[in-house]
């Protein structure tokens, strides 16, 4: 069992900061929003992105899957009432010389980790595709 602790603080009506370990992340918590920090929904997508990229680090060695690079793009939809994330779609790029079949195998293995997100966001649909190469 692993435990995590994050401390967050409102700095003013424009934003706040989250702290854990030796790391800090600026929080866009103002009502108008701001360009230089992630808002709560964007942070949720960042958490998911980190989850997928970390899963690749975990899964690739066990499959002997060699790759040069990986990137992922998320698009999320929220509904107004009740306020919740409704749907998340992603495109995952993996820069590799492995066959298409092996690329799908990697994706299948990553889907197991998607399930860890599904247990968190129960009523939020998550779907995506895997592509070869790097994003435009």
């Amino acid at each position: 069992m692993i435990e995590y602790e994050v401390f967050s603080q409102r700095l003013n009506d424009q934003g706040g900061v989250a702290t854990t370990k030796c790391a800090q992340v600026a929080l866009d918590t103002g009502l108008e929003g701001r360009q230089d920090a992630f808002n709560p929904d964007e942070l949720l997508l960042a958490a998911l992105a980190a989850c997928m990229l970390k899963s690749i680090e975990r899964v690739a060695p066990s499959l002997n899957f060699s790759f040069r690079d990986a990137a992922i793009r998320f698009h999320g939809w929220c509904q107004e009432s009740p306020h919740k994330m409704l749907k998340i779609e992603y495109t995952l790029w993996v820069d590799t010389d492995e066959t298409d079949q092996r690329l799908e195998l990697l994706h299948d293995n990553l889907k197991k980790f998607e399930s860890s997100f599904s247990t968190i966001a129960v009523n939020c649909s998550l779907a995506g595709e895997i592509r070869r190469g790097r994003p435009d």
Binding site: M1, Y4, G16, C22, A23, A47, A49, G76, H83, S118
Partner: protein, 143 residues
Amino acid sequence: MTQAAPKMEFDVAAYRIDAHGSVARCKEAEIVLDTNLMGRRDALNPAELLLAALAACMIKGIERVAPTLKFQLRGVEVKVHGVRRDVPPGMESISYEILVDTDEADQRLELLHLNVRRYGTVFNTVAPGTALSGTLVRRATAD
């Protein structure tokens, strides 16, 4: 009943830098991601980012409802604690403590908490899938 149409959309992209980390980009902001299998101290890992998202959601929720409730406050702090479960992989429980620096009555603090729980996007997204519990209390005034 037809479902309400989605109202807001969000985009986030993330790029692997190397085996130690990645970077997430959104708008003009960047966050370094701890995607290292061994972990690292100078960046948030996926679980910590989830907890940060939840905390941000609570602070923003307070920002949103405080003017409506005419709730006066000087500061907000949020401590979030998550316990991960391996089988099936997921977050077993999340507990939080919201500390509000205010002179408002206890009843009004309860009202604020109710509103934070009701209107937070991340809160409502995460709540059904984990044991989510917590309190909103008055922060002891600093000496």
